[in-house]
Symmetry: C2
Subunit: 214 residues, 2 copies
């Protein structure tokens, strides 16, 4: 900003708000003003909620989810199927699956995808944790819920290789060991989606994976 028209407290607030995803300098000013105008109804509770989050929120040491407890609410939920694990890239993907209530499983958050160009290698993702969880033998199926992007699929292939190598080593030690089943999400036309707006890759998958009607 050209010059300070408000106190340094407001300037500092606007500057920090403008670093939030989806907010620029203009919308950060709008948000700051809205907060200040609605001090008791919004600024005070939001300030308290942030202080509370600073205090309590942590990363689950088992699955990588974010919660106020570690192991998290999902990892300690005994009503979930302990033999089923969904591997996702990010906590937001975990949240999306949980919002949809489509599976009653555990999760494993990788914390990203393999991306050599960005310097993200296997050690930067929580793959060792996944292998350690799988080695315990309780997990029977791993659903690779990674995004349908090049990076997501590369990561899925890498994880599959690692899991198969681990299974081979464990079978060598104990011939009765059953390797884990590895599956991936189905590709196709999204529900409510219009063919006209879909890319060729999705349409190709939708044709290839076509099913008997009715």
């Amino acid at each position: 900003m050209a010059k300070s028209m408000a106190g340094p407290e407001i300037e500092a607030l606007i500057k920090l708000l403008s670093r939030l995803p989806g907010l620029g300098p203009r919308s950060a000013r709008r948000v700051a003003l809205h907060l200040i105008k609605n001090k008791e109804q919004l600024l005070v509770p939001l300030s308290a909620a942030m202080a509370e989050a600073v205090e309590k929120v942590q990363v689950c040491e088992t699955c990588g989810n974010i919660d106020s407890a570690s192991p998290c609410t999902i990892c300690t939920d005994t009503r979930r199927d302990p033999s089923l694990l969904v591997v996702v890239e990010d906590v937001s993907d975990l949240w999306a699956l949980e919002r949809a209530s489509v599976i009653n499983a555990g999760y494993h958050v990788l914390g990203g995808t393999l991306s050599p160009l960005d310097g993200v290698g296997p050690d930067d993702l929580n793959i060792a944790g996944l292998l350690a969880r799988t080695a315990k033998g309780e997990i029977r199926e791993i659903i690779l819920g990674v995004n349908a992007t090049v990076e997501g699929q590369t990561t899925a292939h890498y994880i599959t290789d690692q899991l198969q190598a681990q299974a081979k080593a464990m079978q060598a030690a104990d011939p009765s060991f059953e390797p884990v089943t590895i599956s991936q999400l189905a590709h196709g036309v999204p529900i409510g989606g219009e063919l006209d707006y879909l890319d060729e890759g999705t349409l190709l998958q939708a044709i290839r994976s076509r099913k008997a009607f009715g």
Copy 2:
């Protein structure tokens, strides 16, 4: 959200963030996740900045600006012309004029516009404060920097009537009293604006207020 997938602290944070202007439930989740992932670099300082704003920020009792002091930095700035006052609807308008550094004057924030349908009458705006400031006699020109909307123009007319009535009463008591000059912002084609995208009202004003070229 269908069910709680994160702790109550995160749910509370998302709910409050979704009440910010321009954020919906989805972007609020994105912001919350971004905050938590960047705890030390963003969540901690933003939480502190908000606590600081809760503590210090207040409305200037003279002009209605928002600052950490009352009277505010602008009202106490002796380098500004004390005879010139810009009347604006909102603090965001004051900030816009200050960012542009186009005038070295005082301000008066009305806190909205007259809007009978929304139940906003003269007593809901800071018009009495404006009349009280003008009655002191130091202000020589009032620039009505209200928006070029129906409500803005209605408010401008109302304020003009009030100022003229006050000037008449003061002249009756003291014939040497000079009434304040009332002006408004020029209307026309915005700099960088393309005629093709402008409405008829703006084009009409631009034609009517045309000036000799060069």
